[in-house]
């Protein structure tokens, strides 16, 4: 089981801020996960505007999912 978090525009597109899911076999990288999520949430197809953090650390699409407990997807940040 992994917790997926969604923030800002991604949260609005998905329709919720958090879900816990069982990942199917065969997902190796964050890119694989994003592809799989695109079926349900089309916003995941727009990689240019999607960023990701794995267990509260900024990550990349080629980062391996491994034993991640919390994966967050969000648009490029706009703080400060």
């Amino acid at each position: 089981m992994v917790t997926l978090l969604y923030f800002a525009k991604v949260r609005e597109a998905v329709g919720m801020g958090e879900e816990r899911i069982e990942l199917p076999d065969g997902l190796s990288t964050i890119a694989d996960l994003a592809d799989w999520l695109t079926v349900r949430y089309p916003i995941f197809g727009d990689r240019e505007r999607l960023r990701v953090a794995v267990d509260q650390v900024m990550a990349k699409f080629d980062t391996r999912i491994g034993a991640a407990k919390e994966i967050a997807f969000f648009p490029p940040v706009t703080g400060g």
């Binding site: 923030f7 800002a8 949260r11 509260q56 648009p75 940040v77 703080g79």
Partner: protein, 146 residues
């Protein structure tokens, strides 16, 4: 000394500067970002990633301390609903000498803009709510620090 605070409340700069003014500190450079009221903006709402934000800012402050041998870094960031004129973010870097403090302060705010998990939504007089898009100029500013 690293101090990070994420809060819905306003921050007090005099108190933050006093806390940084310890032995050996000759210079404190600071930056305050403020909500601008351009184009009919009535409010700015800041969302963040609570379990990540503080650690991300702490890591950023630690990098600045190491790179410029700073005596202290303070970062305050507000979240929630803010109106034009409200301060959003405060960054202060303390050092023996001014050049290090000023450069480090620029570094921290440049990196915060592109690396800390905050998102702004703007609300306008005509009722529109619009997520702020990231600026390419911010990516360029952050990139020049390597």
């Amino acid at each position: 000394m690293i101090t990070i605070r994420i809060s819905r409340e306003p921050f007090e700069v005099d108190a933050a500067l006093a806390a940084l003014s310890r032995e050996g500190i000759g210079a404190v450079a600071s930056f305050v970002g403020i909500v601008r009221g351009n184009g009919g903006l009535v409010a700015l709402t800041l969302e963040h990633y609570p379990s990540m934000t503080e650690a991300a800012l702490h890591d950023l402050a630690k990098e600045a301390v190491a790179r410029w041998s700073l005596g202290g870094v303070t970062i305050y960031h507000r979240v929630g609903r803010l109106v034009p004129g409200n301060p959003i973010v405060f960054v202060a870097c303390a050092s023996a000498h001014r050049r290090a403090a000023l450069e480090a302060c620029t570094f921290v705010i440049d990196r915060l803009k592109t690396g800390a998990p905050f998102w702004k939504q703007e609300s306008f007089t005509d009722g529109r709510d619009v997520w702020v898009e990231a600026h390419e100029s911010d990516d360029a500013a952050a990139a020049r620090w390597g």
